[in-house]
């Protein structure tokens, strides 16, 4: 039997019921990864360790031990999350040979559940990009149509899940980096509330916006993963001390009375016709099944993208200051003095998009421009937060497309960075306000490419997102429909 096509919950049940061993499942996944290697979804493999963990799980289960749901289940981790003893490259030449000396908190949590980590996923360099084309190790391809991008920056994570190379993957989302690739690859991706999941051990892009979240093939699998990784972490001061529900058991079977907000300004941002049709059909579906559709206003939404690029680049320029060729990472050769070492290392080590963001960040933070750009953007962020707070007084969730288009062709936008930035127009506002949001497949375009629907929730209310997304998936069809 081919176990790779099962969902996480299905394969977990079979492993726990001893219908199949974790070792056999892991071996099938490894074969699948090798057979689909040309997608370039993974930067490195962790097969030896994966097999060891799988065997360990099998021994414990055979001995009658009660293990958590993720035990023995193969997963993939984005290559900006530290996993002890693995390379954590951020898809950058700067960290090409960097080997993690500790586990990120999310990895400690997954390891405590005996999840089987099979590899580290390709991504846009330092998580900066929307197509995975900014990887120093070559682009990852879309698993449905390999002439297209998988989205980014967690392109490898989404591709790997979509290509049945694992049952779940971790990604990170600073402006849409989990949701946009989930949408492009036809999988489910959740960006948790800011503070829901610890960022300890995750290479920072923009600390005030970054969150780690799961990508899976089903909504319920996603809920299982979030329960496993969420929670307060004393090592991470922005993690929130808010109890973690069992997201799976909190999923409700009815959506009657739930209020779904539609902001007309969201629809004015522009989207492809196939996307618009799919989104309107989804709204109709929810309405017919008892949800209430409410018109709301997000009057400053068109400012979000600009505020995002200022704030995220400012933080990135500061974070990437640490890559100087001294303590770890790449060091250039043939330097004259210390400053020359810094300059040569950074010039040779960083890719084009990363340099662009460092320059922009240093501009908006520099003397004479700080008030006009950075401070202004932070004030616009406060305005947007107010808009969302007002909107959430009238509804439980907000609905929009995840991206204005389906997955685009490789190279189509790589020479126009503004066009590329516009791919994130629907996802970026969510990071700016700190809300949780989920993307799940809601239809296909005329070429058979998946279209993602985004639901945005109130802070710490991932549960309602899962209920609505699961209802759609179970009654109207998700990834495989």
């Amino acid at each position: 039997m081919d176990y790779t096509k099962l969902s996480l919950l299905e394969v977990s049940k079979k492993i726990h019921d001893r219908e199949v061993t974790s070792l056999e499942v892991t071996n099938q996944i490894i074969e699948r990864i090798k057979a689909t290697e040309k997608l370039n979804a993974l930067n490195s493999y962790n097969f030896d360790e994966a097999i060891n963990v799988a065997k360990q799980v099998d021994e414990m289960l055979d001995a009658g031990k009660d293990l958590p749901v993720l035990a023995g289940v193969p997963i993939v981790v984005k290559d900006n999350i530290n996993v002890l003893g693995t390379k954590t490259t951020c898809s950058s030449k700067m960290l090409e040979n960097y080997v993690s000396v500790y586990d990120a908190t999310v990895i400690e949590k997954l390891k405590s559940q005996y999840a089987v980590i099979v590899g580290k996923a390709n991504m846009d360099e330092f998580a900066m990009g929307s197509s995975n084309e900014n990887s120093a190790f070559g682009p990852c391809l879309n698993p449905i149509d390999s002439t297209r991008v998988p989205g980014g920056s967690s392109g490898g994570s989404a591709c790997s899940v979509g290509a049945y190379q694992c049952y779940a993957a971790l990604g990170t989302d600073t402006g849409g980096s989990i949701r946009e690739p989930a949408s492009f690859c036809g999988v489910v991706g959740l960006k948790p509330t800011y503070g829901r999941v610890s960022r300890y051990g995750v290479v920072a892009f923009a600390n005030s916006l970054d969150q780690v979240g799961p990508l899976t093939r089903t909504v319920k699998d996603n809920a299982v993963m979030l329960s496993a990784i969420a929670g307060y972490d004393e090592k991470e001061t922005t993690s929130a001390n808010v109890p973690v529900p069992n997201y799976l058991s909190e999923i409700k079977n009815s959506i009657k009375g739930l209020k779904i907000g539609i902001a007309k300004e969201f629809f004015a941002l522009g989207m492809d016709i196939d996307v618009e049709i799919a989104i309107k059909n989804a709204i109709e579906f929810y309405k017919q099944n008892g949800a209430e559709i409410v018109d709301v206003s997000l009057k400053n939404i068109d400012l979000a993208l600009s505020a995002y690029y200022i704030i995220s680049s400012a933080e990135a320029s500061s974070n990437l200051g640490r890559f100087d060729g001294i303590r770890y990472g790449y060091r250039a050769q043939g330097y004259k003095d210390l400053v020359d070492l810094y300059v040569k290392t950074r010039t040779e080590g960083f890719g084009k998009e990363v340099k662009r963001r460092i320059m922009l960040g240093n501009f908006v933070l520099s003397s004479g421009y700080y008030d006009a750009y950075y401070k202004k953007a932070k004030k616009v962020q406060a305005l947007l937060q107010k808009d969302f707070e007002e909107a959430f007084k009238q509804c439980d969730v907000l609905l929009s497309p995840t991206s204005p288009s389906v997955a685009f062709k490789l190279g189509e936008k790589s020479n126009d960075h503004i066009k590329m930035y516009l791919s994130d127009v629907y996802t970026v506002p969510v990071n700016i306000v700190g809300s949780p949001a989920i993307s799940f497949p809601c239809g296909k375009d005329s070429d058979g490419m998946p279209i993602g629907l985004q639901l945005i929730g109130k802070k710490f209310d991932e549960t309602t997102l899962y209920t609505l997304a699961n209802y759609f998936e179970e009654h109207k069809g998700g990834q495989n429909e």
Partner: protein, 95 residues
Amino acid sequence: MEITTELVEHLAELSRIEFTAEETENFKNEFEKTLHQIDMLEKVDTNGIELKLNLLDAETEIKEDIAHQSLSKNDAIKNAPDSFGSSVAVPLMVD
């Protein structure tokens, strides 16, 4: 606003990144496009808006000042491009 070559060179220096003349010119053009996009914020009235430090409405937990076991010296220098004993080695800075 107009982007000059001098401004790009100044930012490159702040960023500790070197650009060729061609790259500087390309960057200047791209930067103009980026600023054209983000300059839309200029018109927004933000008078009286208070800046928030934290996206969460709750207070951030403050940790007790207690030392915990951290990375060992060996682990901390494992990824150093050059090391000497248990120290990171850097180029000679003073003669």
